[in-house]
Amino acid sequence: MRAPASVAPALLEVKGLRKHFPVTEGILARRTVGEVKAVDGIDFTLRRGETLGLVGESGCGKTTTGRCILLLERPTAGEIVYDGVDLATLKHKELLAMRRRIQVIFQDPYSSLNPRMKVGDIIAEPIKVHAIERDAARRGARVRELLATCGLDPNFADRYPHEMSGGQRQRVGIARALALDPEFIICDEAVSALDVSIQAQIVNLLEHLRERFGLTYLFIAHDLSVVRHLCQRVAVMYLGRIVELADCDELFDNPLHPYTRALLDAVPVPDPTIEAGRSFRPVKGEVPSPINPPPGCVFHPRCPIAVDTCSRMRPELREVRPGHWVACSEVH
């Protein structure tokens, strides 16, 4: 099924992806009164071995995008092509095989691990489900190897999640994601819940694993400094749409979309001297409801450079310089 490597196609192509959730009313006779446009037409590609950051604030659709790729949500429209195969066309058995190749690491290491299972069983579960290793002893050996790979004492296999710290639990979550030798991992806010000193440990582990196993990551996060550190390319989402997409250094050194600029401005840097010299005005207003998004450019009610036409025309994502895409009519 895998395309020959010589062609070197994109590993993942997302085309025109939409995911709308119905808003219902009534208890007995449920009727749909509207829809939440969680993801409203996004396109991006991910090359093998690349880490793409997907950033934005709550409700921008970044997590829903990840869930669509994981086949945990059925897209309303659009295509997700993974390694040349449209995921929507897969039948049960092929789907199972595909799921082995795409894994996920969740945000909260407290709620994403079953508290009644031992760490060893948590990590062994995907190996069992996919019937990769039927021999219990060999499965145990694999679990110990995975724990060591993730920087944990192999004896942790006999512990329960509550006996571990947040950082250690997140390492268990990573070991579980690696259990099936995936090639692509979606990290959904994988370091957001961790303390600063532990966050850096996990970021380093993710980088180490990427190099060792040639992994491709979709790194979903709201922390821009972590995204800048870890990603090669970054897509900024706002209200279900991608507003800017560029190589990491280009995006951070030369942000073009007013929303990206506002996001970067909002992040205080840990240096009182720099902060004292920064003139700073936070962007006005709040993110509008995705049930009834503003017409035209969804950012126009908050935008400092909006003009009349912004409330009427939805700007398409266009390439303003090589590899740098922006959805804003006022950026040239």
């Binding site: 604030e57 709550s58 710290s165 947040g166 950082g167 250690q168 303390d195 600063v196 000193s197 532990i198 966050q199 850096a200 440990q201 970021v203 380093n204 980088e207 709201h222 821009l224 400094s225 972590v226 800048r228 550190h229 250094d249 951070f252 506002a262 996001l263 970067l264 401005d265 909002a266 992040v267 205080p268 840097v269 840990p270 240096d271 009182p272 001297t273 720099i274 902060e275 700073f280 936070p282 962007v283 006005k284 709040e286 993110v287």
Partner: protein
């Protein structure tokens, strides 16, 4: 003039199944009138428990404030009756917590929650309280206050709810506001709005602010003085400039080095703090950070060093045996 708030040798412990946790293990600091002081630390460092102890909001059992004094406007808050303490909370000391949805009452309108404070603390009559509530919502930047006052917390966004919390905290013209992770649950752009609002209002109204946070950037932007906590103690304290540019405790140094920064070129690898945070039920007589410390020596196992002045900046204290030696080593941070 004495400081507005003086915390002296405050101890708070929790009895748990695993043993006694000394969540706050002897902290002392002062806050001057109108000043912004940050308490920085990670989960379990005691920063929130320390703040709640000042307000005597520690659930007992399992918690207990075992020792210490909190001097505020000439009185020791630890000696007040429960009745007197209720007068202080929400009166001269306002509070803003992390999760506005859980700290607001879901079945009362926004208006009622503000006027209740005014009626309780300032014996305001209904009409006066209502006028003041309208004024307060305007102050915290909520448009259309008359409509908002009739709404319930669930009808507001997270940022809007936190604005309401700030309005309630300011209602009785407090001298001090204690804000415990006030923006941690909010998105970046809303966080920036709320912090700017709090900073602007506290300056304009000359209200002192104790802000508890784990975010080193927020501290750098807003705080004049900083207390860094680790395992229940303040390990470094001083003016913000000194803490960031000349840190003298290995934990502060490690913390500043571990964060990726937007104002610096990208690094190949982050420089994390090794190891895990300590188990607070199993602390010994030595320094709690020594297992993770790159400067640790044998002597560190013998005592937990007290906060002591470091040369250079007035009011800069560090609780490390080697704080004088590590000055040069920390140069790379600044």
């Amino acid at each position: 003039m004495p400081p507005l708030l003086t915390v002296e040798d405050l101890h708070t412990e929790f009895r748990t199944g695993a043993g006694i946790v000394r969540a706050v293990d002897g902290i002392s600091y002062a806050v001057e009138q109108g000043e912004t002081v940050a308490i920085v630390g990670e989960s379990g460092s005691g920063k929130s428990v320390g703040a709640l102890s000042i307000l005597r909001l520690i659930p007992d059992p399992p918690g207990r404030i075992t020792r210490g004094a909190v001097r505020f406007l000439g009185r020791d808050l630890m000696q007040l009756s429960d009745e007197q303490m209720r007068e202080v909370r929400g009166g001269d000391i306002g509070m803003v917590f992390q999760e506005p949805m859980t700290s607001l009452n879901p079945v009362l309108t926004i208006g009622r929650q503000i006027t209740e404070t005014l009626e309780q603390h300032r014996r305001a009559d209904r009409a006066a309280a209502h006028r003041r509530a309208v004024e307060l919502l305007g102050l915290v930047g909520i448009a259309d206050p008359l409509r908002r006052l009739k709404q319930y917390p669930h009808q507001l966004s997270g940022g809007m709810r936190q604005r309401v919390m700030i309005a309630i905290a300011l209602a009785c013209d407090p001298k001090l506001i204690i804000a415990d992770e006030p923006t941690t649950a909010l998105d970046v752009t809303i966080q920036a709005q709320i912090l700017e609002l709090m900073n602007g209002l506290t300056r304009r109204l000359n209200v002192a602010l104790v802000i508890i946070t784990h975010n080193l950037g927020v501290v750098a932007r807003y705080a004049k003085r900083v207390n860094v906590m680790y395992a229940g103690r303040i390990v470094e304290s001083g003016p913000a400039g000194a803490i960031y540019h000349d840190p003298r405790h290995p934990y502060t140094i490690a913390l500043l080095r571990s964060v990726p920064r937007l104002d610096r070129p990208r690094r190949a690898r982050l420089d994390p703090v090794d190891g895990q945070p300590p188990d607070l039920t199993r602390l010994d007589q030595g320094c709690a950070f020594r297992a993770r410390c790159r400067f640790a020596v044998d002597a560190c196992a013998q005592t937990r060093p007290p906060l002591a002045p470091v040369s250079g900046t007035v009011g800069h204290l560090s609780a490390c045996l080697r704080s004088h030696e590590i000055a040069a080593a920390s140069g790379a941070v600044a």
